[in-house]
């Protein structure tokens, strides 16, 4: 059965998505610049200037535990240095933003190729690299987020909190899905080549 394909509609859709991705990419790149600067600056800020008064945590719950009740009483009457946690937090934030930028750049590369020649080996490789990125992120981003939270807990003497690393299964499934898509594109490239070499 012959199938019809509305190329104009497809091209318009790709154009619109390309513009949206470009805008988000620029915003993310600018945001990454800001967070990177923040991270670098925090390395040089004197520890004595980054202090935090714990009395603001009076009515704050975290993971169902009232923070003030869980904090080591010995440190409640003093200020604490937040420099280490700030660096950890900014580093984690930078990792997240970097990963977002990586996704956007990959999608942008894909969209650039998809309009004219969707099924080629390049697109298959972009998707494969993207899937690897997701697999790595499922471990690395979760790990550093947990390190940051744990460092904050340690900083305020929050002894009830345990280091609890868990794999980000959503990223793992995304990685698998995109890997399958990558193989489909590579197969499509093979079929495209067969088609192109048929007169």
């Amino acid at each position: 059965m012959e199938q019809n394909f509305n190329y104009q509609k497809y091209s318009k859709f790709i154009n619109v998505v390309q513009v949206i991705v470009k805008v988000i990419m620029i915003i993310t790149a600018v945001f990454m610049g800001i967070t990177l600067l923040g991270l670098l600056a925090s390395l040089f800020i004197p520890t004595s200037t980054l202090v935090f008064d714990l009395s603001v945590l009076n009515n704050y719950d975290y993971r169902g535990i009232n923070i003030i009740n869980a904090i080591n009483p010995a440190i409640l009457d003093s200020t604490i240095s937040v420099k280490r946690s700030l660096i950890a937090g900014l580093f984690t934030l930078n990792l997240h933003v970097f990963f977002s930028l990586f996704i956007l750049v990959s999608v942008h590369k894909l969209l650039s190729n998809v309009k004219s020649e969707p099924f080629n080996t390049k697109n298959g490789i972009v998707l494969r690299n993207l899937s690897i990125g997701f697999f790595v992120a499922s471990i690395v981003l979760s790990l550093f987020a947990e390190i940051f939270q744990y460092s904050v807990a340690q900083m305020i003497g929050f002894e009830d909190m345990k280091f609890n690393f868990h794999l980000n299964w959503q990223y793992v499934f995304m990685g698998v899905l995109i890997l399958i898509l990558g193989y489909i594109f590579q197969y499509g490239a093979y079929l495209q080549d067969e088609h192109d070499q048929t007169v």
């Binding site: 067969e194 070499q197 048929t198 007169v199």
Partner: protein
């Protein structure tokens, strides 16, 4: 090298026709037809063979020939 070759050049010479003229008549690009003539294609559609045979008044067997190569025999 593909064991199936086309005798398009011979047929064109017999009909005193240029490749470009044939390409116009059967509505196939000159590049594709040239690839067919030089054996750089992997497959030919029946519809293409039909059009060529119509224009050149020949049989598919006149257009295509199987040539055994030593590599294939091995």
């Amino acid at each position: 090298m593909m064991p199936i070759i086309t005798r398009l050049d011979r047929l064109l010479a017999d009909h005193k026709m240029l490749l470009s003229e044939l390409a116009d008549k059967i509505d196939i690009s000159l590049a594709n037809l040239s690839n067919l003539k030089t054996g750089k294609v992997k497959a030919v559609r029946f519809s293409t063979i039909e059009k060529i045979c119509q224009v050149l008044d020949c049989q598919p067997g006149d257009l295509l020939e199987y040539v055994e190569h030593e590599q294939d025999l091995n």
